[in-house]
C-alpha cells in the first residue's frame, strides 16, 4: 500500500514536471573541442613540460518543456541545461600522478578530469510570474563573485519592484566527483586524497562536502536603477590536517567538524540617467574576517552622444577560506584609481582608453596586534630591529587603449596596455583581425609585441613578438572548425610553437 502511495506521489510529481499536452520543445546539443600541442619550459629552463591537451565539452539543453501560450512572453517556462567537460593533458608523465613515486608525484594533478559544469532544471514565471526555481548544479553571479553549487534556488518576484531569492546545497569543490576547485574560496590546497598515505603531502587537504546557503534581495522591473543585496555562508566539513610535519616532528593530527568556510554579504547597484550618465558601485563585507574586503565605484558621464568619460575606484583586500592560515597574515588592501574614456568615432569604429594608479600598503613600523604592544610573545627577533620601508603606499601605474572596427564580416581589434611598478613593467599591444568570406570561410590573424621587465628576476626580462594564423570553415551558423598556428619569439624561449584545433558543433531542433 505504501509502495503504491509512493508511486502515486512520484507520478504526481512527474506529472507536474512533464506537460500533459506534449509539444515540440526546443532541444539543442552542442560540443566544443580544443586540442593544443605545445611545450613549456620552467623559468630557469630546467624543466620542460609537454602539453598535449584535449578539452572537450558536451552540452544538452531542452527548452519550452511547457506549452506556453502563443504570443505570451509572460507564460511560465521550464527548461533543462547540462554541460559536461573532459579536460585531459596527455603530456603528463605517469610518474607525476603516482602517489608511490615521491620524487615525481604532484598531489592533485589529474591526467583526464571530467567535471559537470552545470546541470539544472529551471522554471521561470510560475504562479503568474511570482515563482522561479533552479534545481541542480548551477552558477550564481553577483557581488560575491562567480560561484557554483549543487542544490536548489527559489526566487519570489513580487509586483512591488523587488524579488527575493534563497538557495541552498553544497558548494562545488575540487576533489569531489565531477567537480573542479574553481569555485571554492582560495587559500586551501585541497583535493581527493582518498588513496594517499596520511604522511604524504599533509598540506594537501582532503576534500569534503561543503554545505552552503544564501539569500538575496534584488530590485526588478525598473530599468534605470538596479541593486542586489546578497548574503552567503559556506561551511567546511570533514577532517583537515593541522600538523604539516607529519613526516617526523609531529604525529599526524587532524581537526574535524563543521566550521565556517566563508560568510559574506555584498551589495551592488547601478543607476542611469540617459542624458547625463550613470553610476555603479558595490561593496563586500567578510563576516569571518570582520572587515570590508571590496569596495568599488565607477561614475560615467555622457559627454555628447559619442563620448563617455568615466572615473573608477576599487578597494580590495585578499581573503581566503576560513580553513586557510593566510587570513591571519598581514595582507594589506589595494586601492585603484582610474580614469577612462570611450569614443564611438563612427558606427563601426570605437576607441577606449584610460589610465590608473594602484596604491598598495605596507607597514612602516612594527605591527600592533591590537593590545597596544608590538608582536609577539614568540618572535625570536626584536621587531624594533627591522628596517621598515619609508613609503607605506608604493604604487604602480598603468594604462590601456582599445580600438574596435567592425563590419558584418570583418572584425579588427587593437588592444594595448602598459603597467609599470616596482616589481616589474609590462607594455605592449595586440592587433587581431578576423574576416569571414562568403559566410563560411574564416581567416584570422593576431600579432603583438610585448616588453616585460621582471624587476625581481631581471634575467627574465625580454621583448616578445608573436603571431597567430588561423583558418576555418563554418559549416553551420554555430558550427565550425578552426586551425590556429601560434609562434612566439623571445629571448626566454627562443622560438615556441603552438598548434590548436577547434571544432564546435551545435545542433538545434
Amino acid at each position: 500500500m505504501r509502495r503504491a502511495g509512493a508511486a502515486c506521489g512520484l507520478g504526481a510529481f512527474l506529472a507536474l514536471l512533464v506537460p500533459s499536452a506534449a509539444r515540440a520543445a526546443d532541444a539543442e546539443v552542442t560540443a566544443d573541442t580544443a586540442a593544443q600541442f605545445y611545450d613549456v619550459r620552467s623559468p630557469t629552463g630546467e624543466t620542460v613540460l609537454n602539453r598535449r591537451r584535449l578539452t572537450t565539452t558536451l552540452a544538452i539543453s531542452a527548452y519550452d518543456l511547457l506549452e506556453p501560450e502563443v504570443g505570451d512572453p509572460t507564460a511560465p517556462t521550464l527548461s533543462f541545461r547540462a554541460r559536461v567537460r573532459y579536460d585531459a593533458d596527455f603530456g603528463i608523465n605517469g610518474a607525476s600522478v603516482d602517489p608511490t613515486n615521491y620524487a615525481n608525484f604532484v598531489p592533485g594533478l589529474n591526467q583526464g578530469g571530467v567535471d559537470l559544469m552545470y546541470a539544472y532544471v529551471e522554471g521561470r514565471r510560475f504562479l503568474h510570474g511570482w515563482l522561479g526555481f533552479r534545481l541542480g548544479r548551477q552558477y550564481v553571479t553577483d557581488a560575491l563573485g562567480w560561484w557554483s553549487f549543487d542544490g536548489a534556488q527559489v526566487t519570489a518576484t513580487t509586483p512591488f519592484f523587488a524579488k527575493a531569492e534563497a538557495y541552498g546545497g553544497y558548494e562545488e569543490r575540487g576533489g569531489m566527483p565531477l567537480s573542479t576547485a574553481r569555485y571554492e574560496s582560495d587559500g586551501v590546497w585541497r583535493g581527493d586524497r582518498s588513496n594517499y598515505d596520511p604522511s604524504l603531502a599533509p598540506a594537501f587537504q582532503p576534500a569534503a562536502m561543503a554545505p552552503a546557503f544564501g539569500v538575496a534581495l534584488e530590485s526588478t522591473g525598473v530599468t534605470w536603477i538596479h541593486g542586489r543585496l546578497t548574503y552567503r555562508r559556506v561551511y567546511d566539513t570533514g577532517a583537515s590536517n593541522v600538523t604539516e610535519f607529519a613526516s617526523g616532528t609531529y604525529s599526524p593530527a587532524q581537526y574535524d567538524g563543521a566550521r565556517i568556510s566563508s560568510e559574506k554579504v555584498g551589495y551592488a547597484m547601478d543607476a542611469n540617467l540617459a542624458q547625463l550618465g550613470g553610476v555603479k558601485a558595490g561593496v563586500v563585507y567578510d563576516f569571518y574576517n570582520a572587515e570590508m574586503t571590496n569596495l568599488y565605484a565607477t561614475v560615467d558621464a555622457y559627454a555628447g552622444k559619442k563620448v563617455t568619460l568615466s572615473a573608477d575606484y576599487d578597494y580590495y583586500v585578499p581573503t581566503y577560506d576560513a580553513d586557510s592560515i593566510w587570513n591571519f597574515f598581514a595582507g594589506e588592501p589595494m586601492n585603484d584609481l582610474g580614469l577612462r574614456a570611450n569614443v564611438n568615432v563612427t558606427d563601426r569604429l570605437s576607441v577606449s582608453g584610460g589610465g590608473h594608479v594602484r596604491v598598495f600598503n605596507v607597514q612602516t613600523g612594527p605591527l600592533d596586534p591590537g593590545n597596544g604592544s608590538a608582536y609577539s610573545p614568540y618572535t625570536n627577533y626584536a621587531a624594533g630591529q627591522s628596517i621598515y620601508p619609508t613609503n607605506g603606499h608604493p604604487f604602480d601605474e598603468g594604462g590601456n587603449v582599445s580600438a574596435r572596427w567592425r563590419t558584418g564580416e570583418t572584425l579588427v581589434t587593437l588592444r594595448g596596455s602598459g603597467n609599470w611598478g616596482a616589481e616589474g613593467d609590462r607594455a605592449g599591444a595586440d592587433l587581431a583581425a578576423q574576416h569571414v568570406f562568403e559566410t563560411r570561410y574564416i581567416a584570422s590573424l593576431r600579432t603583438g609585441v610585448w616588453q616585460w621587465n621582471d624587476k625581481l628576476q631581471p634575467d627574465r626580462s625580454t621583448t616578445s613578438f608573436n603571431y597567430v594564423l588561423g583558418v576555418g570553415y563554418r559549416f553551420a551558423p554555430r558550427s565550425q572548425a578552426l586551425v590556429e598556428w601560434e609562434n612566439d619569439m623571445n629571448g626566454l624561449v627562443g622560438q615556441r610553437f603552438r598548434l590548436m584545433l577547434w571544432v564546435t558543433v551545435a545542433v538545434t531542433k
Binding site: 578539452t55 527548452y63 604532484v106 553577483d142 560568510e263 598581514a330 584610460g354 609577539s376 611598478g421
Partner: protein, 445 residues
Amino acid sequence: MTLASFLRLPARSPGLLLTLLAFVLILAVVPAALAEAPPVPLHGLAPLANDQQVPHVLLPPGSLEPDDGPSDVIFPPQHLTLRFNHAFHLKKDLGLTCKNCHGAAYRSASAQDSLLPKGTACDACHSTEHDNLAAVKPGDDASGQCGFCHLGYKTADGNAVAALEVPRANLIFNHKAHADRNIGCAQCHGPVEQLELATRDQLPRMRGCFHCHEMPDSASRGTAKSACDTCHLRGDAKGGPTRIRTLFATGTLKPPRWLHNAEHTPDFLERHKLVAADDSAFCANCHTEDYCSDCHDGRVRPRSIHPNDYLNMHPVEARMEPQRCQSCHEQQSFCLGCHQRAGVAESSPTAAKDSARFHPAKSIWSDPPMKPGSHGFEAERNLNACVSCHTERDCVVCHGALGVGAGFDPHKNGFLGGCATQMRRNPRPCFVCHEPGDAVLGQCR
C-alpha cells in the same frame, strides 16, 4: 531735351517708348521678384517642409537629444518612394485620423504585419483606382496622377512605380494590445500629425517603451513587463533558443550605454564585472553560461585576455593585479599545480624541482631582521602572489608558533581584536601553528 530726342527716337513714337520702358521694367523687376520670392514648399517629401530638421519635441518619446534615430538592428533601414503629407491629411477639416489609413494597426498582433495602407485607401479622395495593381488608373486632376505620390514616376513608366521598402521590425509587438488599452499612436510614434512624411525617425525608442514597461514579471496580467523577451525576439543563432536574438542582417543587438551602463565598448572586457556583479540576469538575456565559463572557468587560454607569450609574462602581471587572476583561477589548484609541475614551487616534487632560486637573495628576502625587499613586505603588499605558489606548510616552517616553526609572528595589525570570533567559528587555522594547549591562544578564546 526729351528722352525721345536724347535717344534720337522719332517724336511720333511714344508707344514704342512706353513699350521699351515696360520691357526694361520687366527685365529688371521680374528676376528680382523671382529671386526674393520664397520657393514653393515641397510638401510630403520629408518630415518637415524643405527638409527642416525635426525638433526634438516632435520625435517619439524616449528620443535622446541629440538623437541618432531608432536602432538599425531593430528597425532596418527603409527606402521610401512615396510622397505623403501626414499633417495635411490629419487636418481637422478633412476629418481623417490615423485609423482611416492604418486601421490594420488596431487589429495587428504581430510586428510582422504590414500596417501601411493599401493604394485603395487613397482612391476615394484622389479619384484613383488601385484595385488592380497591375493596371492602376490615375485620377482626373493633378493629385490623382501617379507622379503626385510615387516619387520618380514618369509617364513612360506606365504602371510601374518604385518599390517601397519598409522591412518588418525585429521585435515582438502587439499593436492591438496597446490600442485596446487606449494607448494612442503618438505615445510611441510622437506627434506625427504635425509632420509631413513619417520616416524611421518616428519609430519607437526603447527608452520610450520603458515609460510603461517597468513592471516585474509578477505584476498583474496585461501590465507592461520590463523583461527583455517581452519585446525582443528569442532564438539566436549564437545564444541558443531561450536567449534574446542578437544577430540580424542589419547588425548585432547590443545594449545602449544608458541601459545598466552596459555599452559593449572596446574595453568592456576590463569593466564587464561591474555589470555582471550587479545584474547577471541582465547579461543572461543574451549570453549563456558557456559564454562566461569559456573564460572564467577556462581551460584554453583566451588570447584576447592573455596575449603573446603570456606564460612567461604572467609573473609581472600577477604581482601587480592579483585579484584579476582570481576572477578565473583558484590559486591553490590552478596556479600551484602548474608551479609544482614546473618545479618552481617550494612544494614541487624533488625530481622536478628547479635548482635555481626563484626569489631574490636570502639575505634580503628572508633573513631577519626585515628590511625593504623582505618577503614580509611583499606579502603585505600582495599576499595573493604568495598563495599562488606556496602551500601553508611552506609558511608554517618559519611562522609556526612552536616546534618546527621558528616563531616569526605573521599576524596583521589589530589581529587580536577579531581573533576570538575567528577562532570560535573556525579554529582549524589556529591549530596549524599553535598547539591546542598553547597559552597564547587564550588571547583569542
